[in-house]
């Protein structure tokens, strides 16, 4: 029996959830900076989304979308065009590599390998910014941002795990 239109739309939204969140975070004013709560509290949610979904469900979030989300983020944040795209694609590359190499994936393997992804992503980002642009950056803020991104990964790992179950049921 054919699915009703509203059910089809609902299914589409559920399946496209990670992409929608990724684009929304890149284009909207919504951010994950909580300096009003705690001075150094900020994390990069886009990297968490990209890493988790490229590792666990690569079909739900393509490299093309990651590339475009990166470009949009650069435009909104006034960064040199392509910086975030390269940074995000690096995360995607590490995730794809780990997916090809790993046999048994648990929270701890994902979490540990996420550290490698953050390291490469931020290193490339800083290399490009410090060598090829006139921007000045507070390296300590970037370090804190990377630290909290790493620390919050398990929370989103659990949330996304439940979301994947919802995706499978639809």
């Amino acid at each position: 029996m054919a699915l009703s239109l509203s059910k089809k739309i609902f299914n589409f939204l559920i399946q496209s959830g990670p992409i929608i969140i990724l684009y929304f975070l890149s284009i909207s004013e919504v951010d994950t900076q909580f300096s009003n709560i705690y001075k150094i509290l900020s994390f990069n949610f886009q990297i968490i989304i990209i890493y988790y979904w490229m590792l666990r469900e690569p079909g739900s979030i393509g490299n093309g979308h990651i590339f475009f989300a990166g470009l949009i983020n650069d435009l909104v944040m006034a960064l040199p065009l392509g910086t975030s795209a390269i940074s995000y694609l690096t995360v995607s590359f590490v995730a794809s590599y780990i997916r090809n190499m790993a046999v048994n994936m648990t929270l701890f393997t994902d979490w540990f390998t996420f550290l490698i992804a953050i390291f490469f992503s931020n290193s490339i980002y800083l290399f490009l910014i410090s060598n090829f642009s006139k921007f000045q950056y507070d390296y300590i803020s970037i370090l804190y941002n990377a630290f909290f991104t790493f620390m919050f990964f398990p929370i989103f790992w659990v949330i996304f795990g439940n979301y994947r179950k919802l995706m499978r049921h639809n």
Partner: protein, 283 residues
């Protein structure tokens, strides 16, 4: 040994070149494309500037639209808070009013002070330049950049470097101009440096942003007396900003001398962009 190296090579190759069922481009291709875009922009190819300007106008509009649910939630939250606390606030205000009425001398003092403040406001209003009112489209907080986007661009006569004020208080300057929008670099951004003079002594300094709410005063005179509460004005020495625009008050901390800004950079809804006067003398 050679087997593990083969596995490593295969995994790398697979990650870079393999495409999923729904993926049209390989990771390798997209990384190369991103690098190409990055270097084309870094080396300032003219067509990239126009391309970016075009994209900016489109993206900023969509961005503003996408942020509207968040703005609505904040608006609703403020309204609810306002209604919850209005009763107690009203009671407090009534008590305060009663106290003021009972003390004639205090009232007299307040009247004098009010007159002084009104005179101050009148003199500050006359900045001597034309202003363009602009609405803040996007105020996305970041640990790296402190800037806002406004809905006025080259179409409205905005040019790079123009000072931006909130009321009479300086908040930043225009650093990027598109056709329909512009980006304002706020005073607390790491890249912001503005020459200022400090009340009474007319000491000269540079106000430097460092990502926090309160920018720092640098290059102060050796024997500078950092008395809290002194007002900081633009000195106009850079030839970009008109002199005498109030910025904030001096606060001394352990780490140095800082400025508490008159206008909170996180609470901007509308700003005025100062254009040079018609005499042709600039600011």
């Amino acid at each position: 040994m050679s087997s593990s190296r083969d596995d490593f090579t295969i995994a790398i190759r697979s990650a870079l070149l393999q495409r999923g069922a729904r993926q049209k481009f390989s990771l390798f291709f997209l990384i190369c494309l991103s690098l190409l875009i990055f270097f084309l922009e870094t080396f300032e190819f003219k067509f990239m500037k126009n391309f970016r300007s075009l994209l900016n106008d489109g993206i900023y509009r969509v961005s503003s639209l996408a942020s509207s649910p968040k703005d609505f939630v904040f608006y609703l939250n403020d309204k609810i808070k306002y209604h919850i606390f209005i009763y107690s606030e009203n009671k407090t205000l009534k008590e305060e009013l009663e106290k003021l009425r009972s003390k004639d001398f205090q009232l007299k003092f307040l009247t004098t002070q009010n007159k002084y403040l009104k005179d101050f406001l009148t003199s500050s209003e006359d900045i001597g330049n034309e202003t363009i009112l602009a609405k803040v489209l996007l105020d996305k907080d970041s640990p790296f950049l402190k800037s806002i986007l406004v809905n006025r661009g080259s179409q409205s006569g905005i040019k790079k470097g123009m000072p931006v004020v909130d009321g009479n208080y300086l908040v930043g300057r225009v650093v990027e101009v598109n056709y329909l929008s512009s980006r304002i670099l706020l005073l607390n951004d790491l890249n912001s440096r503005i020459p200022v003079s400090i009340e009474k002594s007319a000491s000269q300094a540079i106000i430097t942003g460092y990502g926090e709410k309160e920018p720092k005063l640098e290059y102060l005179p050796e024997l500078f007396d950092a008395e809290n509460g002194k007002t900081v004005f633009t000195s106009g020495k850079d030839g970009i900003f008109p002199e005498g625009l109030p910025i904030g008050k001096v606060i001394e901390k352990e780490k140095g001398v800082f400025v508490k800004l008159f206008s909170d950079p996180n609470q901007l809804s509308f700003v005025s962009i100062l254009t040079p006067d018609n005499s042709g003398d600039g600011f």
